[in-house]
């Protein structure tokens, strides 16, 4: 893998996507921030459970593909890490 390779972060479950740990908190990461593999970048709420969405590799968050509180499907791309 080269450093410039784009990696999609995919939601494994359907639900509501959150960029913040709770409504009055800051976002987990901003676009342009560096992340390490395993860092939480968002949450998916599915049937009152919260599923952590994590970066799979080290890199920079290039962009989010969905907005905070958007509805996502299983398999949908939520962010791209470069």
């Amino acid at each position: 893998m080269t450093l410039s390779e784009n990696k999609s972060i995919i939601s494994p479950v359907p639900g509501i996507f959150y960029r913040k740990p709770s409504p009055d908190k800051d976002v987990f990461v901003n676009e342009g921030d560096s992340v390490k593999a395993g860092d939480v970048i968002g949450l998916i709420e599915v049937m009152k459970n919260f599923y952590e969405i994590k970066a799979e590799a080290d890199g920079v968050v290039e962009r989010f593909c969905v907005e905070n509180e958007d509805i996502v499907d299983a398999g949908q791309e939520v962010a791209v890490v470069k």
Binding site: P14, I16, K48
Partner: protein, 446 residues
């Protein structure tokens, strides 16, 4: 007299269908409100009128107070039944109903606020001579104060948010060091989830049993109990199986528990149907835990053993009628058991949304309170509970035998369900003997 012409149901799923059933029976028209995700749900079809109130996210639909009030006014509903969850224990919503002259089918905002504060509830119950879990029912101003008080109470302790409930906002601590570490984060979490960071301390009771008393009170000052329910079979503080009567209680303890619960509700001037929750330690000492000021998921087991309709009682009490029966005319008959069917993995409890390609449950000798029908979509947006199976037998063994038979013959496909877990419980020797605590499922799954 006594009934409203039309009721709006501010809820969804099985409880909306349950309320519609009673309304049809007593001749009340119903208005359903639904989110875009529920457009094809059975409750929308079954209500006399149905109005879409917003997108799938509960915050933008079922929790939108102004939208619900607006629909009630437009459809000229005289009363709102909130079901459980969502707006059912929200004092802001109750005040808005009062302002608009709409009857809220439940208690006053004052009572909801009183019981919503765990510290206030403890104080009120103590004043009525209802035992509460040993602890300290003042606000903990600082970690230093918490450590000082904890020393006198003795560890282990439960650090609790006054505004919390249902297992959220609690932290078990075994040592001063753990208390020190947990204090700030628990306070922050309570402030962020409940808008109130007030904390207090309670003795931790290991391996408790969770037993609750169903009560009903009228505006004339009368109160009756409708016996108890045992709800100790839980996963992640969520109830899975409930039954009535409790296999743990002898007649003396039962009589004392029921009488104590009535003292508690009289103390606060409660009106309507409600539940006093208690925990029992292994020596049959019981302590008040919290009060639920709404209809509960597990109300059918009480209906099955008493032959009464609790939704009808709620409606009549909300209309200002006196209690339909006096205590000596409320009789208990046989044994009832309820299994909650969750769309989830039976091992990991992880939710499993999807389309129900098959839902076949034999209907003889069983009560089915279900949110869905075959072909329904179980969406990821709400609770994973898709239905409740309730059996009634002449005794406990009979109720279990009937439940085993239903679980064996039911066919649910398209989503994962906890049916295998429910079957395992019904076959378990300890469960069959009535020997289980709130830790039962953890042990069963090891």
């Amino acid at each position: 007299m006594s009934y409203f012409d039309k009721i709006l149901i501010a809820n969804r799923g099985e409880i909306a269908r349950r309320i519609i059933r009673t309304c049809k029976h007593v001749g009340i028209r119903t208005v359903a409100v639904y989110s875009e995700a529920d457009v094809d749900a059975p409750f929308v079809e079954e209500a006399d009128e149905a109005v879409c109130i917003g997108p799938a996210q509960a915050k933008k639909s079922y929790l939108d107070i102004e939208r619900v009030i607006q629909v009630a006014k437009e459809t000229e509903a005289k009363a709102i039944h909130p079901g459980y969850g969502f707006l059912s224990e929200n004092p802001v919503f109750v005040r808005r109903c009062e302002e608009e002259g709409i009857v809220f089918i439940g208690p006053s905002a004052r009572i909801i606020e009183l019981m919503g504060s765990k510290i206030e509830a403890r104080r009120q119950m103590q004043a009525a001579g209802v035992p509460v879990v040993p602890g300290w029912d003042g606000k903990l101003a600082s970690v230093e104060e918490a450590l000082f008080i904890a020393e006198s109470l003795g560890y282990p302790l439960m650090l609790k948010a006054s505004a919390g409930g249902g297992g959220i906002g609690m932290q078990l601590v075994h040592t001063p060091d753990e208390l020190q570490k947990a204090f700030d984060s628990t306070m922050q979490r309570a402030a962020s989830y409940f808008g109130d960071g007030t904390l207090f301390l309670e003795k931790w009771i290991s391996n408790p049993r969770h037993i609750e008393v169903q009560v009903a009170c009228d505006a004339q000052g009368n109160a009756v109990h409708l016996f108890e329910r045992e709800c100790s079979v839980q996963r992640r503080n969520q109830k899975v199986i409930e039954e009535s009567p409790s296999p743990y209680l002898d007649e003396n303890t039962r009589a004392e528990l029921l009488e104590t619960a009535l003292r508690g509700v009289k103390q606060i001037g409660y009106v309507t149907v409600g539940t006093m929750e208690f925990i029992f330690d292994d020596k049959k000492n019981f302590y008040f835990l919290e009060m639920n000021t709404r209809l509960q998921v597990e109300h059918p087991v009480t209906e099955e053993i008493t032959g009464l309709d609790l939704v009808e009682w709620q409606i009549r009490l909300a209309a200002g009628e006196p209690l339909p029966l006096q205590q000596e005319n409320i009789k208990r008959n046989g044994h009832a058991m309820e299994c909650r069917l969750y769309a989830e993995d039976p091992q990991t409890f992880f939710p499993s949304p999807g389309t129900l390609t098959r839902l076949h449950i034999p209907e003889n000798d069983v009560r089915l309170d279900f949110a869905v029908i075959e072909g329904s979509v179980v969406t990821p947006f709400y609770d994973p509970m898709i239905g409740k199976i309730i059996t009634h037998g002449h005794d406990r063994a009979d109720a279990i035998r009937k439940m085993e038979k239903v679980l064996e013959t039911c066919r649910v496909e398209g989503v994962k369900t906890n049916t295998p877990l429910l079957q395992k419980v019904m076959r378990d020797e300890e469960f069959r003997k009535g020997q289980y605590t709130t830790r039962f499922l953890d042990k069963l799954l090891v």
